[in-house]
Amino acid sequence: MMERIFRIFRFNPETDKEPYYDTFTIEVQDTWTILDGLNAIKWHHDGTLSYRRSCRHGICGSCAMMINGKNDLACEKQISSVKGEITVEPLKGFPVTRDLMVDQTHFFEGLRLVKPWLINHTAPPTDKERLQTPEDRKLLDGTWECILCGACTSSCPAFWDNDSFLGPAALLKAYRYICDTRDEGLDERIGILDSKVGVWRCHTIFNCVEACPKDLNPTNAIVQLRRRLIQEKL
């Protein structure tokens, strides 16, 4: 048990004109994560604190937020790994719904635009799987693990400046399908990828790679997509 100070971004659109920071000093156990800390605050100090959480072990993507200036999953971040006062803020770049909750409607809408589903024009065998070699399957590694937490898109300066930019998560998803040997949908996706909200708006800033709590590399996906587009277009 030891005392830690949480400095938490607060904003309730119903009552507050401006966001402000609330400070809570709580007793934490040494195995606690930031999420445990937030829970303790919500349950024992201030029930009005709002945030999202579900799985508690970094697979659902609910609890992405900015912890001491870095995007992380609150449920995976050990309190003991953070020194001093702990500042918790909502993901940047998305409108704040309340406190640590942000509105990700636009984020998921962007995802929809890249047609994130397998596009294949030949009917699959009826009583069997489509074949795919282990090597071809390996191409998908580093793409399909994305939990859509939004930490990457939220860290991307190109997205801050221009939120119509699809952002790294949607582009990673596009690449997940385009590099799937079972997929034939490049043509259908070229329109959006090559558009003024597509891959060319990324300036190779790498914040997204830095931010991804699952250690994925959206920049690589974007770079690969550009290569494909250049092959197609030039």
Binding site: D163, D194, K196, R201, K233
Partner: protein, 129 residues
Amino acid sequence: MRDRGIGSGGVMGWFFQRLTGIVLVPVLLVHLLTMHRYHDHGLAWEQVTNLMINPYWKALEITFLVLALYHAFNGLYALFQDYVKSSGVRLVLFSLTVLGGLVLFIVGVVTVLSIQSPGLVGTAGKVLP
């Protein structure tokens, strides 16, 4: 939030930004190292004209001019795409970048071509203020 209407792509602009960038590396270095000598109060008029009379140097300088202008103004336009929200204003700015680029290109080419022989002034020089 801006609408995400599918608009003109950007593959050309993006690709040529890299291409010109790469070609600029040697060209720019050569240009810098030959033309921007500051000892002795900069290159003397004669030195420059001596260099520039050589058609290869002329070609090199014009290449540099074209590449740098394209790269610079294409780069500026990339900025506008990021920061300017209205597509109307973007169109105006696009026209301005193209126009500006062209004007500077003419000025530059005229300058380079005007150097006909060491110590002589090209007649073209008088055309522009």
